[in-house]
Amino acid sequence: MPLSWTRNGEVVELALGREPCNEIGLEMLGELERFLGELDVENTAALVIHSTVRGGFSAGANLRELYEGLVSRPVGEQAPEIADFIDRIHVVMDTLDMLPMTTIGVVHGVCFGGGFELALTCDVLVAERSARFCFPELRLGILPGFGGIPRLRRDVSNAVVRDLLLTGRSINAKKAIACGLVSQMVAPGEGLTAARAVATQATKFDRDALATTKRFMKPLPRADLDLEKQHFLRLAAKPALREALHKFVNSDDLRPYLP
């Protein structure tokens, strides 16, 4: 199963377990929707999102699935399906972002693209020393399309946002702490323990006070999210994406994310 979740009192843990690295395609999207549909919001004070796969938190969008979808239809006829996916993933990300509880993301290893965008929905990010963050989208002829840019800009300086997006370079956990993206860094294997401690704190607080503080401190950047979606859909309809994905899926390079 790509996703599984458990409840311990008022704390829910969502485990991402899709090999090789929690690629987000239709299956993962459906599972995220199912999780949110089943989540008992009223009786939950904290949600911990973590990965059980070795490679990392998430490598991002399922690029093979996207490529296969693109090449299976004539140019210009894929737009409705991509737009539908983007609409659905935005609802999932926005819902996670605004949950009236403390959400904690535990990141180790790869946290790239759509995976990075998922992590950015969390209130508190705990990074293990191995964590590495990257937005490689420009290499594919697109920009992040799951709401990543407005969420990143909400947390870190515009200069860092531009550096990450316009170079496509990846940064480590120490840099992520320094630029304000991550607030806690722990040793390898200690992320879940640290996140559970944060979750326990949430259970001690008045729920209204917690939800109000979160809403006050972390407003949803609605207008920019809509704008990002429009930019993404325009770029995704161009041949550059298909060409870049063709190169990516046929690459045997150990570091296919390098430009």
Partner: protein, 77 residues
């Protein structure tokens, strides 16, 4: 052997359990250590923290050997 190359080889040896004396400047890092793409990402973070530097990914294009990697590290020290 440069200081960076020596430290790189010691770190690689320690981290991936490969005898340091078998790692040479001209050896392919990824083949010699037998690491996959996810471990390559982790290795970058470990090197950056070991040397207290940042190495942008694009400066590693075409870098395959321990010697080349040590040279890339030196550019950022």
């Amino acid at each position: 052997m440069s200081n960076s190359l020596e430290r790189l080889i010691q770190l690689s040896s320690r981290r991936y359990g490969v005898e340091a004396t078998t790692l040479k400047s001209e050896d392919d890092v990824f083949e010699k250590l037998g690491i996959d793409s996810f471990q390559a990402v982790e290795l970058m973070s470990e090197l950056e923290m070991e040397f207290d530097i940042e190495i942008p990914d694009y400066e590693l294009q075409g870098v395959r050997t321990f010697g080349q990697l040590a040279a890339a590290i030196d550019k950022r020290r």
